[in-house]
Subunit: 419 residues, 2 copies
Amino acid sequence: MKYLLLGASALILTACNSASISPSKRSDPSSLAAPSHAYSQADYDYLAISDPEKMSAASKRALARNYHKNEEWFGEFRHETLFGDFAFDEDVSRRDPSKVLKINGVFYTWYTRTTGETKGFGTGDPDAKVFPWDHAEIWYATSKDGYHWQEKGRAVGPGQAGQFDDRSVFTPEILAHKGTYYLVYQAIKAPYLNRTKNTVAMAYSSSPEGPWRKLDAPILTASDTGEWAGTQDNHFLVKSQGDFDSHKVHDPTLLFYRNKFYLYYKGERMGERKTAGGREIRWGVAIADNPQGPYIKSDFNPITHSGHELCVWQYQDGIAIVSSHDGPEKQTIQFAPDGINFEIMAYLPTVPSAMGLVESLDKNAHPTAGLEWGLYHEYVIPAGKTWMSGGNQIKRFSFQSQYYKSSRNSDELTHNESN
Amino acid sequence: MKYLLLGASALILTACNSASISPSKRSDPSSLAAPSHAYSQADYDYLAISDPEKMSAASKRALARNYHKNEEWFGEFRHETLFGDFAFDEDVSRRDPSKVLKINGVFYTWYTRTTGETKGFGTGDPDAKVFPWDHAEIWYATSKDGYHWQEKGRAVGPGQAGQFDDRSVFTPEILAHKGTYYLVYQAIKAPYLNRTKNTVAMAYSSSPEGPWRKLDAPILTASDTGEWAGTQDNHFLVKSQGDFDSHKVHDPTLLFYRNKFYLYYKGERMGERKTAGGREIRWGVAIADNPQGPYIKSDFNPITHSGHELCVWQYQDGIAIVSSHDGPEKQTIQFAPDGINFEIMAYLPTVPSAMGLVESLDKNAHPTAGLEWGLYHEYVIPAGKTWMSGGNQIKRFSFQSQYYKSSRNSDELTHNESN
């Protein structure tokens, strides 16, 4: 395999798309033909590039984007049904499970719970349930084996009429920090319309069983940018879109990282477009010195241009994420050494919705150890109906990696009928 | 929104990953902070980048990879069941439908047809059906409305014992050119082992009904590179992997393009790895002056580093593809102005398997007009079994685009009960 060294004047510097190529390395843009001294024969062989002097655009892109690296980040999700109160329930919808905490040998999770059929918008009844998460409460459940779950009761309910959370509280996440448990969750103040902006609220307790004390005000709000067009309740009609989070701040996820409180969240935008990657969905982060805030949105937002429900965990000194359904980087695992600047590590076939990761896993053992098993939800859609009028069921996922098998006691990992 | 013009010495040239940025345009690699004069306020607004001086790695990547462009290439696939001989059939497996030709007002398609259960490898019986496409024949069917299909009979069967196609013929594609119909398809010479390399064969006829005349020799073979390790029939054990197509040459797809015959195909590699994008699957092309060959593999192969069953059509002066299940660029639509150098245009949620496109659609009307409807296959997997022992059923897909609706007569497009 021969390849040429270019003269210094023609050297092209690009570190596009990879944290692992230092600025001093050089590689070709798709449109130029010359190969680079930065790649080894092993790199070419991995990618089956037989002649570096005659590379297709796809081959140049494969090198530039490190398709020959990071195989240890790849794996595939599997799904399992749960038992007890998480078995399919025709009358109760349970969705958006939080991370799973293991407290005194027992697994805990928090989730959105509703009853009744979703009617949707435009019924003429302002109290009609407009989404599967409308008129919701946050409940919690426990399990000894991660398969049989017992619903324990309500953790947080809506506020009094007139308060910022009087319509619905839902999509919780949990952080245990120095003996205090913090729930962060979405809140809606009535009326619940297409154009309604939500907020993020917090409640805390000294015990996972509660009682939970709510903060008086939201800890995060949608951006006050963008301008609606007209008065019709249509969130696609705008004079200007505003920021990535001008409409919604969803899926709040709280981590203690770098000695601060990182509140990751999904933004939805007024006048949302369909792009080359589908829906425009982006994530942001807001950072505080204290768990109760104030949370300051990062100047570097948005920190992703893809994803949907958040899936975020600390891997060694950085933050790893799984990006799901929407955007050009859908169904990828990404990593940011600093929690802000994410690069794509792996490309997955499918990703479960609304994953709740298990906090007690040995997350630093391997890039994907934090995904070994956890909870997620599925839509249960009756025949002839759409996702809106179905309910949700919490289920369990596992992540199969060729490169990592947990060395822990297996009774937590495989369903044992005698449990 | 302020952004700086950099001094000439700091200008960084990259045309990574986009055919639409000329070499004179410049944009930042992820690791540098300075913005570029190549982007407009509209570009930043599209991506909700509020401060170009403080962009996350994801935002820089979004600009560099044109996430703010190509929205007209996006859409979503829908699925429909077919009727007549393509309804579910417990005894017959039909898979890998070819492109659909419309001849004298009637739709024609060719496909792999088998009966009997797949036994898999290691049974000790050299004649046992090892894959759903083993002991296969190529049959064809017709339809007036694209929904009700009538199976017409066999087009091509296996050869005589000892010939290069004596075990199985399958996965056909069709090209009509100057009054002659050309079938290209995969062929296997017994025995059919894990390590067996297949070939690509051709048969031609002056009528879509046949009779079909086979060429005496394959038109394409797997690369004679790579080296097996040991004698165990295991295709993952290699001393060296060889080229991207050292094991298999699959899914041959023949187009008349730039006044030549472009034979696109999928390569599978000896000692196939699991990479950061899953299975390593790549496409190549071989080009001939005459439809019967000789076909010369392009020096620029591989031309993709992702995909599975081919989906290829001409859009204006270039070639468009849909990349499916495997690799870092799974589930994307890509375009090459020259049929060789593909760039990613859109990122799809799901992609049907083994699509057979409709050749008579007005493909040049819009980037995705060629996908408006077509055929594909699903696996029908009995409870408790794996994909290997299931059968296949041919079904119909449609592609929903926000940007394109066909102006043609609708009776072809929607199932009309009176047809």
